[in-house]
Symmetry: C2
Subunit: 129 residues, 2 copies
DNA sequence: TTGGTATTACGAAACTCTTCGTATATTTGA
DNA sequence: TCAAATATACGAAGAGTTTCGTAATACCAA
């Protein structure tokens, strides 16, 4: 209790970097930058600075045992997704997850297989009650 | 074509004000401020400035025919919700609405009635295909 | 060894968001 | 009428984000 990190609110750039780390595992600044720079015009020191700030904020940890530091996300993708979703549910959808779900289903494509998985999940939820 | 407003990205304060206008209809700055200030310590001129900036950005329009201007949201709640959801689906959930839905259902409470509505919606979606 | 390359650290500029003080104009009521 | 209250406009400060230049340091190869 009381030991939880403040709720995550990564900026857009920070989320970009987190996603790279989630997908690729621990990385050097150079590695993150190569991936980052393949989608976006950006300087190396910009990537470095972003990651240093994220480290200072406690979003990333780093292994400094060699000169070239290795960075690691300190928050899991799943946890980050949950928190960002909670925030939008609270801020935009009056706290109603169901309202968000219906808005999402009503306006965004989902494959039959995905819809089937969702139905399955709904059944499990009902059985639990 | 090409006549669409840029995608909405209201700041937190702007979203607060939009919600007040969506729920209460067109308002003066004073009216918005009273509601705003009941939840938050904030000065009148701050509310005014926010609304002026939103007007400049094209988020709000205003009737200036009398000295006390009347502000109106230029975007519907439904459209704003869709756009914000699209953004988070794209940025956080790899573009998969289904992944967002499952994360939301898996971790946030929804009542039986709501779950039932969602199932109904799913059935409608399947029939449409 | 030493000069080039890669890395981190630092700081500052530009931009946005939020906040509010002050100035100015309008309305109102005593 | 005219002072008080109310409204808008304007500008600026402070915080956070993004950007990058420059400096200092470490590494490596010829």
């Amino acid at each position: 209790m009381f030991d939880q990190l403040k709720v995550l609110k990564p900026t857009e750039s920070e989320l970009d970097i987190l996603k790279i780390l989630w997908e690729n595992g621990d990385c050097t600044v150079r590695q993150v930058h190569e991936i980052f720079a393949s989608n976006k015009e950006i300087g190396y020191t910009t990537t470095l600075k972003l990651m240093q700030i994220m480290h200072a904020k406690g979003l990333l940890e780093r292994d400094e045992s060699s000169k070239t530091h290795i960075y690691k996300a300190l928050v899991s993708r799943d946890k980050a997704e949950k928190q960002m979703l909670s925030k939008i549910i609270k801020d935009v959808f009056d706290g109603s997850a169901a309202r968000l779900v219906m808005q999402a289903l009503g306006n965004h494509q989902a494959s039959d297989a995905e819809l089937e998985k969702i139905k399955q999940l709904l059944n499990e939820l009902e059985n639990k009650k």
